[in-house]
Amino acid sequence: MSNVLTVRGLKKSYGAQHALAGIDFEVRAGEVFALIGPNGAGKTTTLRIVATLLTSTDGEITFLDHDHCKEPDFVREKISYLPEEAGAYKDMKGLDYLHFMAAFYARTPEEEKEFVDRAVAITELGDRLKTKVGTYSKGMTRKLLLARALMTKPVLAILDEPTSGLDVLNALEVREIVRRYVKEGTSVLLSSHNMLEIEFLSDRVALINKGLILDTGTPDELKDKHQAKNLEEVFRSSLR
């Protein structure tokens, strides 16, 4: 399986504070790769760097054989990013928001319609898409944003805590949507501190703490290696 994204020796510092102390990982085509770790471990910083929002202090990132640092415009064409605390324009109707975002990626009006139709199907919000985003519940907004992130079938979808703040049912729906789209060819790089969610969603996992990757592998590999019942125990074991 070829790599969509390869990260080597990635470092990020804010003055004297080191958010990332040199991490290595890769995301393969058609897989869900998850970064798991506690708050402040460096998950969001990693995702923001890959999403071209932040620049790295050191290290190399290769995206589809292109230098990520030198060609951010190329990267932005092929990725989509869902921040943890993302919002949509409150005065826009849901459908208008999807059209607005689709227009950045679509080359033709037909393609834009295709993207929006796909997003409408993902959200399952029906007529509520004709109302303003400001009136949506948190779950509805999150589904709208996830649909926005997946509607263009990006090469790499970067999802930061995709089910953050959602109730059980909404979280379950979001996870199912993500899994479905991976089957259609999108690779996913996601972060979460919900170990059960990661176990359900991810093909491979990297355990991250204090800006360092402690271990990488499939959930089963990691559980075997650390003789643990679940990823929470794996994480505790890898910290020792």
Binding site: T44, L53, E77, G87, A88, D91, F100, F104, R148
Partner: protein, 431 residues
């Protein structure tokens, strides 16, 4: 280009809200309403004024005085036969703005070349400047009568002399010289006309700069507050296009809003100005201004427009940077303050002082502020200081260039997410 148009459309839609349209319509209606009310008040003030007169003398001179007032568009209500107290009560109860009491012996005193006294009682029913105009006119009528009476005395006593020459042996013929042009008139009048001509420039600039800047700062701050900025920064559109779309949308909406406000303002000023101008028009003013070359030709208007346009661009670029520093919509309101001060400093100095004549350090300080230059353009155009104008335009262009590069740099780096200026909160880096 399609992506840019998509973003620009969204920015404009965000700015042109129902609230904005209602606020604009309301302002125009309010200005027009105030203008019409003021117009009526001014019409009343400059039109026929009702006054009461108690002529206790009944002499030819006192009658001449009352006739003089009537010819000066006063409606004089005769209170003859009443006591002073009765006349005061009647005049006060009625519409009269003033009671004029001509005491007994007024005519005899005049005939005997003794100072004659008349009494005026002004009824101040309002404290507006227009409301007190009645007494000013009465005073000018009295001084005109004084002039006529003294001329008569002098003619009677010294029939061989011209009374005017006796009273004012030195006469001045005033000329104003501007550059190589000269015209007959007073410097005061010319200065007054220039300030009238350039009154709108600072007002227009203030309104557009503050309005557009507020929009840009809020647009960036709202993206941050609504957590939409991160998503926008990862879509395939150049960061410079994001900046340009926001600036262009705010500039366009700011320009249109300012035009609408100016329309309303013109209606307001027109209400007062037209009637006041009718009352106190300075005869020959425009002709003298033309003679002195103190008017804008097409080139002048283009230069002035260019200067205003550059000032707006500078304001928008500065606002973009200030917007990045703002954490949310509330702090964006504070961010507009430095910009407002930068526009208000040259505005107030231009109101009360000549920027060219202040001390060197103050002058340098003012010239460093890019918004000072549009205030100076009209003066420099009149005085032919084309070098100063060109330098001002070049300076604003350079400042704009530097600010745009700085804004683009901020938008292209981590600073767009990590730079912030909190008010009363602890600073914190993005994790």
């Amino acid at each position: 280009m399609k992506r840019f148009a998509n973003l620009l459309k969204k920015e404009i839609k965000e700015l042109v809200t129902k609230q904005l349209i209602i606020s604009l319509v309301f302002t125009v209606i309010l200005f027009q309403f105030i203008g019409q009310v003021s117009k009526k008040e001014v019409q009343k003030a400059v039109g026929d004024q009702t006054i009461s007169a108690l002529d206790q003398d009944g002499s030819a001179a006192s009658k001449a005085l009352i006739q003089g007032l009537e010819s000066a568009r006063f409606k004089v209500l005769d209170q003859s036969g009443k006591t002073k107290e009765e006349a005061l009560a009647t005049a006060k109860a009625g519409e009269s703005k003033l009671l004029l009491v001509i005491p007994k012996g007024f005519g005899d005193s005049l005939a005997g070349l003794k100072p004659s006294e008349i009494e005026t009682y002004s009824f101040m029913r309002s404290f507006s400047l227009i409301g007190t105009r009645g007494q000013v006119v009465v005073q000018s009528v009295i001084s005109a009568l004084n002039e006529a009476l003294s001329n008569n005395f002098l003619k009677q006593r010294l029939p061989d002399f011209d009374p005017q020459s006796l009273k004012r042996p030195i006469k001045s013929k005033d000329f104003v010289v501007v550059q190589d042009k000269m015209a007959e008139g007073s410097a005061n009048m010319v200065a007054g006309l220039i300030s009238q001509q350039s009154l709108l420039i600072p007002v227009v600039l203030m309104m557009i700069v503050i309005y557009s800047s507020q929009m840009v700062i809020s647009a960036v701050a709202m993206e941050k507050q609504n957590k939409t900025l991160e998503t926008l920064l990862t879509v395939p559109i150049k960061r410079t296009s994001i900046i340009t779309a926001k600036m262009l949308a705010a500039g366009l909406v700011g320009l249109i809003s300012a035009a609408v406000y100016m329309l309303g303002f013109q209606g307001f000023m027109g209400g007062i100005g037209e009637e006041a101008a009718k009352a106190g028009a300075q005869v020959g003013g425009p002709a003298i201004m033309r003679q002195l070359g103190l008017y804008f030709d097409t080139t002048g208007y283009i230069v002035l427009g260019l200067s205003l346009f550059l000032a707006i661009l500078v304001a928008l670029a500065l606002a973009m940077i200030l917007g990045v520093l703002a954490e949310d919509f509330r702090s964006a309101q504070n961010m507009i303050m430095p910009l407002m001060f930068m526009v208000m400093i040259p505005y107030f100095i231009s109101l009360f002082a000549d920027i060219n004549s202040v001390s060197l350090p103050v002058k340098i300080l003012i010239l460093i502020i890019p918004f000072s230059h549009p205030f100076l353009v009209s003066q420099n155009l009149y005085l032919g200081n084309y070098g100063m104008i060109a330098a001002g335009l070049a300076y604003m262009l350079i400042v704009f260039g530097v600010l745009v590069v700085l804004a683009a740099r901020i938008f292209s780096t981590d600073k767009i997410l990590t730079m912030k200026l909190s008010f009363g909160k602890k600073k914190g880096a993005t994790a």
